[in-house]
């Protein structure tokens, strides 16, 4: 079977579907922004996009190229200062969904975007760091992670905890005083993982069309939990694909 769409397109469409109309979503640049704008252009026209540059309710008609793209300010309901976006909007838990990427992710959805290998002061690879992620992970109603699944990213243990998922398991978020719901969903190029409500462990619940459980297991650095009722997701609709490609081309 050869699909007429790429794995990245499937991942973006699956992420977009995750967003409900009328909710507020804290969006980073790249895959999250693409998915959120796709959602807004398809099933969720009332999705409120919030960018850490201070743009509340941005309505770009093309994909912004940075979180400070002029089109975000031009189309926002309100442009506020960076301290305000974190203090008045993110911190009190007003934002329903936070979208995060990851360089490394563990089975409890803890995220590393800081350093890989070596130690902190002498790392093998120095990554950009935290940005807004620690507090997005802490305070949003729930977190959706978008990341390509591979042994490099899905690791038994992250080298640095930049953003907390479920910590070491059940009860940890409450113990740490993290008030948001945490990384309930991880969307990859292979399928969708959801945090088990009891164990908090990321569990494969859906495969994208044409992907096998074995391929997902091989791309995971820990023994992957698989849902009993593992489903196969719907491929992108022609409409989703058309809108996504138009967004990417604009």
């Amino acid at each position: 079977m050869s699909a007429n769409y790429t794995a990245d397109e499937m991942m973006t469409v699956a992420a977009a579907r995750q967003l409900r109309d009328g909710t507020a979503c804290f969006v980073g640049i790249g895959l999250p922004s693409t998915a959120a704008n796709l959602a807004r252009a398809t099933h969720a026209p009332g999705l409120v996009l919030i960018y850490e540059s201070g743009c509340l309710g941005a309505k770009p008609d093309r994909l912004p190229l940075s979180i400070g793209d002029g089109i975000l300010a031009d189309t926002a309901d309100s442009v506020v200062s960076v301290p305000e976006v974190f203090n008045y909007w993110l911190q009190p838990g007003r934002i329903d969904v936070g979208f995060l990427g990851a360089a490394q992710l563990d089975r409890y959805g803890n995220i590393n975007t800081t350093v890989i290998g070596g130690d902190y002061t002498d790392p093998k690879v120095r990554l950009p760091g935290a940005g807004g992620a620690p507090e997005i992970a802490a305070s949003c109603g729930e977190v959706v992670v978008i990341v390509r699944q591979s042994l490099r990213t899905f690791t038994e243990r992250v080298d640095f905890v930049t953003s907390v998922g479920f910590g070491a398991g059940p009860g940890d978020r409450a113990r740490l005083g993290l008030r948001g719901g945490g990384p309930r969903t991880v969307i990859t190029d292979l399928g969708v993982l959801e945090a088990d409500p009891v164990t908090c462990e990321l569990t494969l619940t859906r495969l994208h069309p044409g992907v096998t459980v074995e391929r997902a297991r091989e791309a995971t650095g820990w023994p992957l939990a698989v849902a009993d009722d593992l489903a196969t997701g719907e491929p992108p609709t022609p409409d989703e694909l058309a809108v996504l490609r138009a967004l990417m081309a604009a």
Binding site: S66, S81, Y120, V125, P128, A138
Partner: protein
Amino acid sequence: MAKLVSLADGVAELVRDGDTVALEGFTHLIPFAAGHEIIRQGRRDLTLVRMTPDVIYDQLIGAGCARRLVFSWGGNPGVGSLHRFRDAVQNSWPAPLELEEHSHAGMANRYVAGASGLPFAVLRGYTGTDLPRHTTNIRTIDCPFTGETLTAVPALRPDVTVVHAQRADRAGNVQMWGITGVQKEALLAARRSLVTVEEIVDEFEPLPGQVVLPGWAITAVAHAPGGAHPSYAQGYSVRDNDFYQAWDEISRDRDTFRDWITQHVLTAEAQA
């Protein structure tokens, strides 16, 4: 009242070796021209502070101006890594670079505390992450009313903050609009400040979304049209996304980088 100065004089007078310097601007209004002037004047041992050290700090770090970096996200937005930053951290080239690393929320609140004349800020942040393991500047504090434990970070008080804005008037008042980020706080937190502007006008036309900074709270203003390039100044220029892409290639190699700095910064004239 802010003095109107040339960019070269402003940097010469306000930015000193060993200073803690914040160049702020959140994607929009990044003070590149001022950063280049700092490189041209050969400043050394700077503690560079910035939420998003991107290409401008990659250049300052690669040019050997920095000893220390206080930041929350260091990357080339939309492109990838900062190669000079990585080379400094991973290989100490051209000099070792100490890091003090925070989250955006922490950095933003540190500026707020600085602007507010408070020694620290309180937030819900960092809890459970590995960030507090690597600096003593992230601590806990208990609410005196509820007993709840929160996070405290110390105020940022740069020796000098540099920002870029769209306009100044002749009294040194500054007007900016669009995404204005953390610039007001960064400027008010600093002991001295330098604002570069696209244009100097007789009177401001009031605009939606404007932030006006009074001249009496600013040390100096310099006319530096195009001074945000390759970042942008809303109403004056658009972001040069091609340059950000090109920087990835330029900055990957030490020699290519040095050639670029020599040609585009060191032997270039200061603007205006």
